[in-house]
Every structure is written in C-alpha cells, then in structure tokens.
Symmetry: C2
DNA sequence: TTGTATGCGTTATCAG
DNA sequence: CTGATAACGCATACAA
C-alpha cells in the first residue's frame, strides 16, 4: 500500500514525534538513544517504508561508499582472460558488501594516459584497486601521483620495482620455481620457457623462478630455449613452430599462462604426431582449460579470488581509518600470496625407456 | 606544482572574475555564455586543477550517474561461467563510459529474497541491469515490484513468460534449432539432448528449438534421450555415464552449454575408446574451451558482449528521458539478438562408411 | 537523551 | 548573458 509513495525523513520524525536529527541518529546507530524512542522511530520508518538516500548521506559525509576497480582497456573483449577478472571481482564484491560498500568499476579507455586522482577528487570512490596494470612509464607516473595524493589504493598482481607501491601480489617466482623443479624431478633437463611480455612484473618473476630452479641443479637458462608470447592462445600456437624446430633439444616447456600453453599444445600435437618426442608441459593459472585439454595440463594455481578478498579488505580498513588512509600501508606495502602447483598428465614422467 | 592542492570552485570564480554560478554553467555547458568568459573560466579551472565533485553534483541533480548491475550469488566463485559475465560487463562498461556514466556492481547475497527498488530509493543507481536471474517466485515478485515503481531496468538473457518485463535476450530457440538441424544435416538421427535447469528460460527455449528441428523432419523428441545437468562441467561428466549406457541408441548429443559439453566429452572418451561409436556433439556459448578441447567443439555462439552493449544503451536512453524512464519500454519490451552456429570437428559427418 | 542550527558543493530558479 | 540565492537530504557540533 504505502510502499510505493516516497517517504521523507520529516514524515518519519513527525510520526515518531521526534526531531529529524533523532531519526538520523537512530538509523545510524550513533549517540545514546532511549530504547523507547529508538523503537518508535524504527517503527515509524518501517511503517512509512522510509529509505535514507545513500547519495545525500555520502554527500554529507564526503564519502562515496564505493571502492573503485580499475580494469584494463581491452580492445577485443574476448582477448582477456576473463577467469582472472571474474575471480578477483567476486572476491572483492563479496568482501565489500559485508561492510556496506559497493564496487564501482572503471574501465580504462585505450587512448588517455592513466590518471587516477580525479576519481577521488570527483568523490566517486573512497579507495582504488588497480587491476591489470603494466610496467610502463605512464602507469608508474600515474601511480606515483596517486600515492602522493595520499588516497588509499592498491595494485593487484603487479609489482613496480623500486616504487614501494601498496601491492597485493603472488609469489610468482616461487610458483615458477616449483613448476620447473617439478619438471626436473620428473627427469627433464632441457626445459624451454615460454614467457609473457616483460611489461608485466609477473613475467620477470617467472623468469627468476625458472632460473633459480635450474641453478639449484647446477644448470643455467639456455637463451635459445627462451620464448616470449603475449599471453594469448594464438601466440602459444605460433611459437609452437619455433619449439618444434628445436624439439631435439627440448625435453619440456614451462609456459607462463594456460592459454599460451593450450595453444602450444595444439600446435605441437599437429607438428609432432610422434608421441615419443612430445615434450612435457606445465602451464600457469590453473584455469578451467587446464583440465579440459588433452592431455590435462599441469599448472600453477593462483589464488585470484583470495587476492580480491585481500585487496578489498585492505582498502576497507584504509577507508575506516578516517585519518590518512595511506597510513595503513606505510609498514607492509606488499602482500604476497602463495601459488600452488597442480600436477596433471602433461608433465608426468615418460613411462617408456 | 599546484596539482596537489585542492582547488575550490570559489577560487576558480575569483580567478576568472566571475560568480560561482557562471563557473558551474561553463563546466556544465548550459545556458548562453559569452565565449570570452567561457575561456576565462576554463583557463582558471585548468590552472587551479579544479575538479568538480561528482558526488555533490549527483546530489543536487538527484541522479547518481550510475548504472547498476546485479550479479547472481555464486557460493563457489569458480562455478560460474566467467566468460559470460566478463563479456556482458565489458559491453556495458564500454558503453556507459562514453556517456559519462559508471557501473556499480551489486552482488546478490545468497540468503535474502531479492529486492531491487531500494537501490533506487537509496539513489545508488539510475537504472538497473539484472543478470543471471532465474525464474523463481521471489524473483518474479521482486521484478514486478520494480516495474511498478517505474524505475528503468532490464533483464538480460532471461525471459519471464507472461510478465512483459523489459528484456534483452537471445533467440535460443532458433540457436538450438540450427544446432540440431545441423546435426541432422550431417546424417544423425538419434539425437540426445543434455539441457540445463528449467529455472532458466534459456533451457526451455533450447528445448523448443530442439523439438522444432526434429519435427521439421517428422521426428519427435525421445524422452529417454533427454538429460538435465546444472551447466557445470561435472554434471556433463556425470551424465556421460548415462549416455554411454544408451550409446547404441545415440548418434549425437546437443548440449546446452560448452562446459557441460566438455565434461561429457571427457567422460565419453574415457568410456568409449572405440572411435566408431563416438557420438557427434554440439555445445552452446562458443566459449574459449570450444576450440581447446579435442575434438574441437561445434557450438552456438551467443553475442554476450553485444547484449551488454544493448542493455546499457537502453538504460542510458531511459536515464536521459528525464520523464518516466520506463516509458521507453512500453512499446518494445523485448529485444532479441541472434545466435550463430560455429561448426567444428565434433559434429562433422562420420567419414567411415 | 534530544532538539536546533549549520554546512556539505552543486544545480537551478529568478532577477537583473 | 550573468549574479544572487534557495533548495537538495543528511550529519553533526553545540545547546539544552
């Protein structure tokens, strides 16, 4: 009945026989309130179907109540690893909702050089989570400015060396080391590495892990077995040609993400029907495709969902500290989560002599 | 230099030698303004690095500037078809950004019965896009209330029979019909159907298309060849057992989404190493996994990205019509996009005699 | 414990 | 074309 008519706070106050300020206090649970009036106000509000305007509240408090999420610009939407973002967004969404915050998603446009502070100036967000950033001059500069502005923000899954930005990252070096060590445990020695673009710190981390694993056994990376793709399946497919050429020197391949690994696998299967020569493969991300493909792909699982949770939680606490949000990060600017190796058939020891 | 200090509109006005009202006019491009003062104001604003508060503006205009996106509650994040949401979100995001709007993502909580109107009452959003809705009493009720409230909203990829909700949907009946017709063109006659839960209108549509294709050739669905999964890969895998049992009666299987198709494929490969018996398969969604799996999976491509674009565009125009936003939908409540069949090896005619 | 009064940063109305 | 000025709906310091 009364649900559809819009109720004002004035009406609630009148019906409850109190002032608007008291209504406000009750609804926000601040200040000491006599239980009786509290109930009276609540009743009135309920009866009138009163819903406070979040917008007005935000305005008065000068807090948007939003956590911003910056997503990278993706010309062809299909290109990006949707798994990655879905998981992180889910983690963030579930976390912020518990605290009454919302997620405002901000798609980068392709052209413009990144600029983050205005999201705060416009008061669209109280904190910012930056996803899919690359190590490029414009990005570093934008993030530096953002940090100087003192607003709470965090970079996810990307490390900017020497900047000390607040970051939630994964120990990709260790993840990679484990992967390669596993390959060596299986008896493989000539291990090729198909990496991603070096604008992602991930890629460098993975290389370090790769190198470390080799060195632990007294080996060194062989430049001729190092390849670089762009994380897309097609690039893995294309590099399959190169690897096939050197197949005599290659025991196994460690690939920086599953999508490239899948492409590589496809191409190698076309080129090397001879099972005996087929190299072992370990991918990265443990995405859905890992156990879809044939043979099932060993892969390094990355806790994307948990990264989202953590990033969100950090930003929330930064928002609560009404003081300087950035304070929180002064001590522990970098949070590191652990990856985990999932072993499947693609990297098992060859049975034949 | 001056970038970091927060500039107020007052200062801009002073520097430009005009009133605050004029600053506002210039920045909003409203009313007639002498070109000279316009430039003077713009200069001043630029020089001071003044950024108007979107929050205050929204408050004054009583428009949040946000398009809300309701996402379904997913207990285990990994379960949901991330491809689906990523594409739709990308489509929406790119569209709304062009108009200066933002996307506010609203994760459903598992418990609560859905309630949408309060997002408007709280003035968090100006329009709402509902994703992943199921045909359940609570959902219908919530959407009915929302419509009665007169706020602009749209349901994506789900049809509520008899309600006339504004919807952006795909012609899944035709998509399915094409898929099954294709199978028959290839010479298959005993076609099993692995469908999804019937709480999704999609599933019903697909069944209709399945039935229609058969009837065009004078056939009728065989109840014993109808199966239902939950869209997850595991359910496809499990139903592989059932289908293998009746493999003598099954030529081909039409599967309601790729993930189940992939699961089915895996299980059948385990159970039926005998290539001769292996049924043809057509999946649905044309997700990445379709051409990863072995054999590459024929599938019905669904224009998710375009659905997001369209839904967003509709909501934007509804928001612009400052009158009653819902007016827009009075005439064309349902928008239907077309699916497309992508043929790959999994459904090709058997070469053997 | 509660009421009063003021401010939040814009937009928009109404004179001039 | 431009300048005052009143909302906008709520939070909060200050009074009572």
């Amino acid at each position: 009945m009364s649900g559809s008519i819009i109720a004002t706070r004035r009406e609630v106050a009148d019906l409850a026989g109190v002032s608007e300020a008291t209504v406000s206090r009750v609804l926000n649970g601040v200040g000491p309130i006599k239980e009786e009036t509290r109930i009276r106000v609540l009743d009135a509000a309920n009866q009138l179907g009163y819903v406070p305007s979040n917008l007005a509240r935000s305005f008065a408090r000068r807090k948007s109540g939003n956590i911003g999420v910056v997503l990278p610009y993706i010309p062809k939407a299909r290109l990006f690893s949707s798994y990655y973002f879905s998981e992180i967004l889910s983690g963030m969404g579930n976390t912020v909702r518990e605290q009454g915050y919302d997620l405002l998603v901000l798609f980068r446009s392709g052209e413009e050089t990144p600029e983050y502070e205005s999201f705060f100036r416009m008061q669209k967000v109280d904190a910012l989570v930056v996803l899919g950033a690359k190590d490029e001059p414009g990005e570093r500069e934008a993030l530096r400015k953002l940090r100087e502005s003192g607003h709470p923000f965090i970079v996810v899954n990307q490390h900017f060396d020497g900047e000390n930005f607040p970051e939630v990252d994964v120990d990709h070096e260790e993840g990679s080391r484990m992967a390669v060590e596993h390959l060596m445990d299986q008896g493989y020695r000539s291990i090729a590495f198909l990496n991603g673009p070096l604008t992602y710190s991930n890629s460098l981390d993975r290389f370090k892990g790769f190198e470390k694993a080799l060195q632990q056994r007294g080996l060194e990376p062989d430049d001729r077995l190092l390849f670089e793709g762009n994380f897309g399946r097609r690039s893995g497919y294309a590099i399959g040609d190169d690897i096939a050429k050197r197949i005599d020197e290659v025991d196994a391949v460690f690939v920086a993400n599953d999508r490239m690994a899948v492409g590589l696998l496809q191409r190698l299967r076309e080129l090397l029907p001879d099972q005996e020569r087929f190299p072992a493969i370990v991918g990265y991300d443990d995405s859905d495709s890992a156990d879809i493909c044939v043979p099932p792909l060993s892969s390094v699982r990355v806790p994307f969902y948990e990264m989202g949770e953590l990033a969100a939680r950090l930003m929330l606490t930064a928002c609560e500290d009404s003081s300087n949000g950035a304070e929180v990060f002064k001590e522990h600017p970098r949070y590191l989560l652990q990856a985990e190796l999932i072993v499947r058939d693609s990297s098992k020891k060859r049975t034949g002599g």
